[in-house]
Protein backbone atom coordinates (compact mmCIF):
# COMPACT_ATOMS: atom_id res chain seq x y z
CA UNK A 1 0.00 0.00 0.00
CA UNK A 2 1.18 3.54 -0.61
CA UNK A 3 -0.23 7.00 -0.10
CA UNK A 4 0.16 10.27 -1.96
CA UNK A 5 0.67 12.98 -0.98
CA UNK A 6 2.11 12.43 2.47
CA UNK A 7 1.79 16.09 3.46
CA UNK A 8 -0.85 18.81 3.36
CA UNK A 9 -1.78 22.19 4.73
CA UNK A 10 -3.01 22.64 8.29
CA UNK A 11 -6.29 24.01 6.91
CA UNK A 12 -7.02 20.51 5.63
CA UNK A 13 -8.73 19.62 2.40
CA UNK A 14 -5.88 17.76 0.72
CA UNK A 15 -7.05 14.74 -1.22
CA UNK A 16 -4.87 11.80 -0.22
CA UNK A 17 -4.74 8.85 -2.57
CA UNK A 18 -4.27 5.39 -1.10
CA UNK A 19 -3.18 2.73 -3.53
CA UNK A 20 -3.36 -0.91 -2.50
CA UNK A 21 -5.32 -4.07 -3.06
CA UNK A 22 -8.49 -5.69 -1.77
CA UNK A 23 -10.22 -2.45 -0.91
CA UNK A 24 -13.95 -2.88 -0.69
CA UNK A 25 -17.19 -1.03 -0.03
CA UNK A 26 -20.15 -3.03 1.22
CA UNK A 27 -22.06 -0.99 3.79
CA UNK A 28 -24.62 -3.74 4.21
CA UNK A 29 -21.81 -5.74 5.82
CA UNK A 30 -20.29 -2.81 7.68
CA UNK A 31 -17.46 -2.48 5.16
CA UNK A 32 -16.98 1.26 4.80
CA UNK A 33 -13.38 2.42 4.30
CA UNK A 34 -11.96 5.09 6.57
CA UNK A 35 -8.68 6.94 7.04
CA UNK A 36 -7.15 8.06 10.31
CA UNK A 37 -4.94 11.15 10.53
CA UNK A 38 -3.50 10.91 14.03
CA UNK A 39 -6.65 10.47 16.10
CA UNK A 40 -9.03 12.00 13.59
CA UNK A 41 -11.06 9.55 11.54
CA UNK A 42 -12.58 10.49 8.20
CA UNK A 43 -14.60 8.54 5.68
CA UNK A 44 -12.72 7.39 2.61
CA UNK A 45 -14.05 7.62 -0.89
CA UNK A 46 -14.03 4.14 -2.39
CA UNK A 47 -12.78 4.61 -5.93
CA UNK A 48 -11.95 1.00 -6.75
CA UNK A 49 -10.60 -2.13 -5.14
CA UNK A 50 -7.12 -0.67 -5.58
CA UNK A 51 -7.72 3.01 -4.82
CA UNK A 52 -9.21 5.01 -1.95
CA UNK A 53 -9.21 8.77 -1.51
CA UNK A 54 -9.41 10.61 1.80
CA UNK A 55 -9.58 14.33 2.46
CA UNK A 56 -7.26 15.51 5.21
CA UNK A 57 -8.97 17.18 8.16
CA UNK A 58 -7.85 20.55 9.51
CA UNK A 59 -5.53 20.54 12.51
CA UNK A 60 -4.31 23.05 15.04
CA UNK A 61 -0.65 23.98 14.96
CA UNK A 62 1.93 23.39 12.29
CA UNK A 63 4.62 20.92 11.37
CA UNK A 64 2.79 18.05 13.04
CA UNK A 65 3.62 14.64 11.64
CA UNK A 66 0.75 12.30 12.38
CA UNK A 67 0.33 8.57 11.96
CA UNK A 68 -1.78 7.69 8.98
CA UNK A 69 -3.76 4.45 8.84
CA UNK A 70 -6.56 2.92 6.84
CA UNK A 71 -9.48 0.77 7.89
CA UNK A 72 -12.15 -1.00 5.89
CA UNK A 73 -14.64 -0.91 8.76
CA UNK A 74 -13.61 2.09 10.87
CA UNK A 75 -12.58 -0.22 13.70
CA UNK A 76 -9.70 -2.42 12.59
CA UNK A 77 -6.75 -0.38 11.41
CA UNK A 78 -3.66 -1.07 9.38
CA UNK A 79 -0.25 -0.65 11.01
CA UNK A 80 1.69 0.71 8.09
CA UNK A 81 3.97 3.28 9.74
CA UNK A 82 2.76 5.76 7.15
CA UNK A 83 2.72 9.34 8.31
CA UNK A 84 1.04 12.51 7.11
CA UNK A 85 2.85 15.80 7.71
CA UNK A 86 0.93 19.02 8.28
CA UNK A 87 2.58 22.13 6.96
CA UNK A 88 1.78 25.81 7.05
CA UNK A 89 0.49 27.41 3.88
CA UNK A 90 3.26 29.75 2.78
CA UNK A 91 2.80 33.46 2.31
CA UNK A 92 4.30 34.09 -1.09
CA UNK A 93 5.17 37.71 -1.72
CA UNK A 94 7.30 37.98 -4.80
CA UNK A 95 8.45 36.18 -7.90
CA UNK A 96 11.82 37.11 -9.42
CA UNK A 97 12.40 37.43 -12.27
CA UNK A 98 8.88 37.45 -13.65
CA UNK A 99 10.02 36.78 -17.20
CA UNK A 100 12.53 34.49 -18.85
CA UNK A 101 13.97 33.46 -22.17
CA UNK A 102 11.93 31.22 -24.45
CA UNK A 103 14.97 28.95 -24.38
CA UNK A 104 14.11 28.13 -20.77
CA UNK A 105 16.58 26.98 -18.13
CA UNK A 106 16.52 30.16 -16.05
CA UNK A 107 15.90 30.08 -12.33
CA UNK A 108 12.78 31.66 -10.89
CA UNK A 109 12.83 32.65 -7.23
CA UNK A 110 9.82 32.90 -4.94
CA UNK A 111 10.21 34.85 -1.74
CA UNK A 112 7.86 34.84 1.18
CA UNK A 113 7.36 33.21 4.51
CA UNK A 114 6.37 29.78 5.76
CA UNK A 115 7.93 27.57 3.13
CA UNK A 116 8.35 24.10 4.57
CA UNK A 117 11.14 21.62 4.12
CA UNK A 118 9.08 18.92 5.80
CA UNK A 119 7.74 17.53 2.56
CA UNK A 120 9.25 15.21 0.02
CA UNK A 121 11.58 17.38 -2.11
CA UNK A 122 10.45 15.46 -5.19
CA UNK A 123 6.95 16.85 -4.69
CA UNK A 124 8.09 20.48 -4.42
CA UNK A 125 7.21 21.75 -7.88
CA UNK A 126 6.42 24.75 -10.05
CA UNK A 127 3.62 24.64 -12.56
CA UNK A 128 3.58 26.91 -15.62
CA UNK A 129 0.13 27.19 -17.17
CA UNK A 130 -0.42 29.08 -20.43
CA UNK A 131 -3.26 31.58 -20.20
CA UNK A 132 -3.94 32.14 -23.87
CA UNK A 133 -2.75 28.99 -25.61
CA UNK A 134 -4.55 25.68 -25.21
CA UNK A 135 -1.45 23.86 -24.05
CA UNK A 136 -1.04 21.59 -21.04
CA UNK A 137 0.79 22.97 -18.01
CA UNK A 138 4.45 22.16 -17.53
CA UNK A 139 5.93 21.20 -14.18
CA UNK A 140 9.48 21.79 -13.01
CA UNK A 141 11.33 20.78 -9.87
CA UNK A 142 11.78 23.29 -7.06
CA UNK A 143 14.79 23.65 -4.80
CA UNK A 144 14.12 24.71 -1.20
CA UNK A 145 16.71 27.36 -0.34
CA UNK A 146 15.96 28.42 3.26
Amino acid sequence: MKIFPSAGYVKGGTFVEILGTWFDYAPQYGIVPHCKFGNTIVRAHFDSTVRLVCQSPAVQGTNAVLDFEVSLNGVDWTYTNFTFAYIEEPKMEKIYPDMGSIEGGERVYFSGDGFSNHTDPLHYKCRFTPQTLQLPPKETQVAFLN
Partner: protein
Amino acid sequence: MTVQVTQNGVDYDNHGFEYSYYSVDRYFPKSGPSDGKTGSIVVSGQGFKPSAKPMCKLNGTEHAPVSVTHKEIRCPVPPAEAGKDFFGNVDFAITPNGAAWKVFDGGF
Protein backbone atom coordinates in the same frame (compact mmCIF):
# COMPACT_ATOMS: atom_id res chain seq x y z
CA MET B 1 1.43 32.36 -18.14
CA THR B 2 0.45 31.57 -14.57
CA VAL B 3 3.08 30.05 -12.32
CA GLN B 4 2.19 28.22 -9.14
CA VAL B 5 4.09 26.32 -6.48
CA THR B 6 3.17 23.12 -4.68
CA GLN B 7 4.90 21.73 -1.65
CA ASN B 8 3.22 18.35 -1.67
CA GLY B 9 2.75 17.68 -5.39
CA VAL B 10 -1.01 18.22 -5.19
CA ASP B 11 -2.03 21.54 -3.64
CA TYR B 12 -0.88 24.51 -5.72
CA ASP B 13 -0.86 28.08 -4.44
CA ASN B 14 -3.40 30.53 -5.82
CA HIS B 15 -1.39 33.72 -5.51
CA GLY B 16 -1.77 34.30 -9.25
CA PHE B 17 1.85 35.02 -10.07
CA GLU B 18 2.39 35.69 -13.74
CA TYR B 19 5.41 34.82 -15.82
CA SER B 20 6.16 35.84 -19.39
CA TYR B 21 8.74 34.92 -21.99
CA TYR B 22 11.03 36.96 -24.15
CA SER B 23 13.21 36.22 -27.14
CA VAL B 24 16.30 38.05 -28.34
CA ASP B 25 16.79 37.99 -32.10
CA ARG B 26 19.51 40.44 -33.20
CA TYR B 27 21.19 43.75 -32.55
CA PHE B 28 22.26 46.61 -34.79
CA PRO B 29 24.62 48.30 -35.42
CA LYS B 30 27.51 46.07 -34.45
CA SER B 31 30.14 48.76 -34.64
CA GLY B 32 30.46 52.52 -34.35
CA PRO B 33 32.89 55.37 -33.74
CA SER B 34 34.82 55.29 -30.48
CA ASP B 35 33.52 58.73 -29.55
CA GLY B 36 30.13 57.19 -28.82
CA LYS B 37 28.30 59.10 -31.53
CA THR B 38 26.66 55.93 -32.81
CA GLY B 39 23.68 56.87 -30.72
CA SER B 40 22.33 53.58 -29.51
CA ILE B 41 22.42 49.85 -30.21
CA VAL B 42 18.98 48.50 -31.04
CA VAL B 43 18.34 44.98 -29.74
CA SER B 44 15.36 43.37 -31.46
CA GLY B 45 13.23 40.60 -30.11
CA GLN B 46 9.90 40.09 -28.43
CA GLY B 47 8.39 40.22 -25.00
CA PHE B 48 10.52 43.00 -23.52
CA LYS B 49 9.02 45.18 -20.81
CA PRO B 50 10.39 48.10 -18.79
CA SER B 51 9.05 46.74 -15.51
CA ALA B 52 11.47 43.79 -15.73
CA LYS B 53 14.33 46.30 -15.36
CA PRO B 54 16.34 45.34 -18.45
CA MET B 55 19.96 46.47 -18.56
CA CYS B 56 22.70 46.77 -21.15
CA LYS B 57 26.37 46.00 -20.60
CA LEU B 58 29.09 47.37 -22.83
CA ASN B 59 32.73 46.53 -22.12
CA GLY B 60 31.75 45.31 -18.65
CA THR B 61 29.92 48.50 -17.66
CA GLU B 62 26.20 48.36 -17.07
CA HIS B 63 23.94 51.01 -18.54
CA ALA B 64 20.21 51.57 -18.26
CA PRO B 65 18.55 51.32 -21.66
CA VAL B 66 17.57 54.47 -23.49
CA SER B 67 14.15 53.00 -24.18
CA VAL B 68 12.29 49.70 -23.96
CA THR B 69 9.35 48.55 -26.02
CA HIS B 70 7.77 45.14 -26.53
CA LYS B 71 10.09 44.53 -29.51
CA GLU B 72 13.15 46.69 -28.87
CA ILE B 73 15.69 47.55 -26.23
CA ARG B 74 17.84 50.55 -27.12
CA CYS B 75 21.21 50.55 -25.42
CA PRO B 76 23.34 53.69 -25.10
CA VAL B 77 26.82 53.77 -26.60
CA PRO B 78 29.11 55.94 -24.50
CA PRO B 79 32.57 56.97 -25.72
CA ALA B 80 35.05 54.08 -25.61
CA GLU B 81 36.62 53.73 -22.18
CA ALA B 82 40.02 53.26 -23.86
CA GLY B 83 39.79 56.66 -25.50
CA LYS B 84 38.76 58.13 -28.81
CA ASP B 85 41.56 56.38 -30.67
CA PHE B 86 40.43 52.92 -29.54
CA PHE B 87 39.81 50.47 -32.33
CA GLY B 88 38.53 46.98 -31.65
CA ASN B 89 35.73 44.93 -30.15
CA VAL B 90 34.29 45.14 -26.66
CA ASP B 91 31.83 42.78 -25.03
CA PHE B 92 28.17 43.59 -25.42
CA ALA B 93 25.34 41.95 -23.48
CA ILE B 94 21.81 42.66 -22.33
CA THR B 95 19.57 41.29 -19.63
CA PRO B 96 15.90 41.64 -20.58
CA ASN B 97 14.76 40.50 -17.14
CA GLY B 98 17.44 41.99 -14.89
CA ALA B 99 18.75 38.55 -14.05
CA ALA B 100 20.04 36.50 -16.99
CA TRP B 101 22.58 38.03 -19.35
CA LYS B 102 22.54 37.41 -23.06
CA VAL B 103 26.10 37.89 -24.32
CA PHE B 104 26.33 38.63 -28.03
CA ASP B 105 29.00 36.88 -30.04
CA GLY B 106 31.33 39.43 -31.59
CA GLY B 107 30.39 42.15 -29.17
CA PHE B 108 30.43 45.73 -30.43
